[in-house]
Amino acid sequence: MVVFYRRMPRFEYLKPQRFEDVLELLQNSTPNRYRVFAGGTDLMDQLKQRKINVPETVIDLKGITELDFINFDKSSGLRIGALTTVADVAKSPEIEEHYPALAQGAREIASIQIQNRATITGNICNAVSSADSAPPLLALGAEVVCANRNGERTIKIEDFFSGPGQTVLNPNELVKEITLPPPVDNSDSVYLKLAPRGRMDLAWIGVAVWAQISERIFNNVRIGLGAAAPTPIRTPNAEEALCGLDVVSENIEAAAAIASGEASPRENSFRAGSEYRHMMVEVLVKRVLTQLAG
């Protein structure tokens, strides 16, 4: 059956004011009872097109203003609340200064209107491989603080994605905030997105690298890739290969080639073929590292 829907399906709508009230609802939930949303820029479209099962009730999280924050502290790092919009992350001077790849990633997410509405947390919870915030969060060593009624747990961002559109969150769990480690001296980060029409397109490849360079040596490197595998990934071999090496183009090119080998793009994507994506991982990792090398 094919029907091209124009109308929203019927569902109940709740807009609680307190995080704990949501957790309480989720605790006693049954499958297909609730779906939560923050900006709704992914969920509303999926519901309208019946791409997902229609829940009995959708829970609008935007009333939980306590989770709309950006806190930065030099010694403890950055905390981004689950309800913080992409636009706020894109515009934050502290993020721009200490975590530039994340600000760049936020600015690459779709239109200004979407950025004003969508949240960074929603971007990672939707868990598409091409999410522009994911490679920067991977490169910057982010952790995801999750909560249910009984308590909290912290998950490394590289362990957060479990498959296309899937995360390790339990049905009774929500993300509370995303944390990033405090800035390290002599470090910098960059995100580059490859897409024919820029931010309005889903990334064909996204690459973020965080690197600590001193005396022209790569002391520490983390690389995050988007749209290069079923989920956003790190490339540990390329990172390890670079550490301790001189900042010269031969080393950068070698690491880019290793990173390309660590990618495992889909074979049958209509957007771009696997061979091309492998090649583009190499080109973009090289470009990002070259940019960081100064």
């Binding site: 094919v2 029907v3 091209f4 024919p196 029409r197 309005m200 064909w204 080109v283």
Partner: protein, 771 residues
Amino acid sequence: MSDQPAKIGDNWPNLIGKRLPRVDAVEKVNGDAKYAGDFNLTGQLWMKILRSPYPHAKIISIDASKALEMPGVKAVVTAEDFNGWSWGWGPTTRDETPLADEKVRYFAEAVAAVAAEDEETAEEACALINVVYEELPGIFDAEEAMRDGAPQVHDYVDNNISWDFHMDYGDVEEGFAEADFVREDRFETGRTLTGFLEPPAAVAQIDSSGITIYAAKQSPYFIYRQLASCFKLPLSKVRVIQPYVGGGFGGTKNDSTAGDFCAVMLAKKTKRPVKFVYNMEEVLTTCRRRHNMIVDCKMGMKKDGSITAVQTKVIADGGAFTAIGPLTMYLTGIMTTLPYKLDHYKHDAYRVFTNHPVSAAMRGHGVTHTRFAAEIQMEKMADELGIDPVEVRMKNAIEAPHETINGITVDTCGLKEGLEIVSSSSAWKDKDQNKKDGPVVRGIGISGTSHLGGARQRGHQSCAAIVRLCEDGTVNYLTGASDAGQGSDTVLVQLVAEELGLTMEDVTIQRVDTAVTPVDNGSYGSRVTILAGQAAQKAAQEVKRQLAEAAANIWEVDAGKILFNDRTVFVDGDPDKSMSFKKLTQIACYSETGAVIMGKGFSEYGLEKMDFEKGYGNPGVNYSFTSQLSAVDVDIETGMVKVKDFLIAHDCGRPLHPVNVEAQTQGAASQGLGQALYEDFKMREGRTMNSTMVNYMMPLSTEHPDFELHDIITDDPHGPFGAKEASEGSIISTPPSIVSAIHDATGIWFTKLPVTPEKIVLALKEKKENS
């Protein structure tokens, strides 16, 4: 030309050629303009269409009983309700039914429709209709579809050949023998969306007075005829009312849709008005699109670059039904003899049924495909012979007057002048200095192409107009021509006002209402300005003649001495004898028994004989010529192409409304840009994989270059004030100039559109490995 008004004063013409506001500008900006989806009728129901989940399947049974039991559902229609009625282009190709009958032939073909009290209910009810299918093997490749034993889409033709078309002029073998160099190449032109932003929508009712439908159509008299035939009503009882239209570009908005037929049928069943609006995914999945064509092109060339012969074989993916396809195949053949001299030409074209959505007309109809192939092949051969791209074009370019080997007559041609303009630009002259050395490389390419205006194919093609003079000196102008956004309403008002010496504000154009306005074939083939324009001029001249007689009586002079200008009527050479247009109107309308002044006019351009089957004679009234330069930056590591400059020198005869002409030229180039680099329906087993505007990538404003436009004035004798077409030329000139520019940057000739980053990177890799 006797059709042209007398030259009055130094500022004449007053309106033609002026940068005037469009007549629809205010309504569109302030939201007064109502589109089909804005219309609501009292008591209306909402309709939703249930569509097939298979590209090719037998329909075993349809059970709508559960849907009909749902509260709020008023009726369901299936193919049975239409009693086997079918429609299509010609008497032998009426192969399309409003709803799939017995079998479905493409994915998401309409199978049933529900009318309910609200749209949500109609949507939910669709899910309750139980359709049992027996899936059939599908055929999705046009060449495979032609082979014996391939699954058959229709039983009434063999080897899935929907239509074939053959032209043979001169002797190509002789031509190839004369050549020093012969090349054969295969080209493929891509599957593209027509690209309107307003999806199909309508609200329909039917009662003892007949059918009334407010529908988004660029050619409302198509659906007028189709509804009359489907519902067995006289044409006088079919009323199609034309709202503002949000773009057309051919295909879908020329034809009826499943939605139109079903809305009327449901209105008939329920005795209530029925409304529907498609969504964009429905448009991208089910509506008419441009044919993908494989063009095998063979060209002979002498050492000096002159072309001796061209032979083309075209295989077009026609999709599931015929629609307007035969015309596409005619145009893709007949126009190859322009704009370069050609003595020997042979063309064999096959339109092939597949289980894809239907292919039909789109801006640059048929011409884009074969011109792209011949243009690139000509330049490729010149490249191999060491001849400059400008030189090979100048060598072969026609000059007016010219008659092609297949009987196309060209009276004005600005091609050489256009090529001179693009080749004397600094972008062209300094192209080798501006190359840049990686990873981003600059490339410059050019093209020189032609398109027809005032399309005339077979059967009814003229336009008519009625100009009604109101007694206060203002004018109601009735036309059957439709402004689908291209700006024709403005140009037509300009022509009427210019003839009568009035201002734009004095003339009100009535949008099409088939119960009121004169029959018209529609907005396609760049025919409106030329044909409806001539009709408008003639109708206005008729009003002027009647007024001039009244004035001649008053002043006791010969009617031929009465002139109209600037809302004033006066006697030529006797400035004391003058009065306002309004006053003359009042005198004429109120004196004695009183006159009711109306003028009617018909177009007369392009009535000479043609042979459609052989592709002989003029397919249009006159011909535009477009020369284009494109500058691109190619990132040779990622394959990303950014177009930096478009320089377009076009001969549209004379731009009657320069702002519209510029917008049309830019818009067509924009669509050409999409076709060259970005747009392509990705098909898998008959399903469209990129059926959203996010994934089907039309170029955004950020992908557009700077435009530089040059008008070449040639004043064609067969168009109002010398006008030719100005809305399709640059969709033909853009892709070859971009592909030529990419060649300049990369050294590689790409022959399959669109030229994606992936194709570029992989081709560069292959080139590197082979060198």
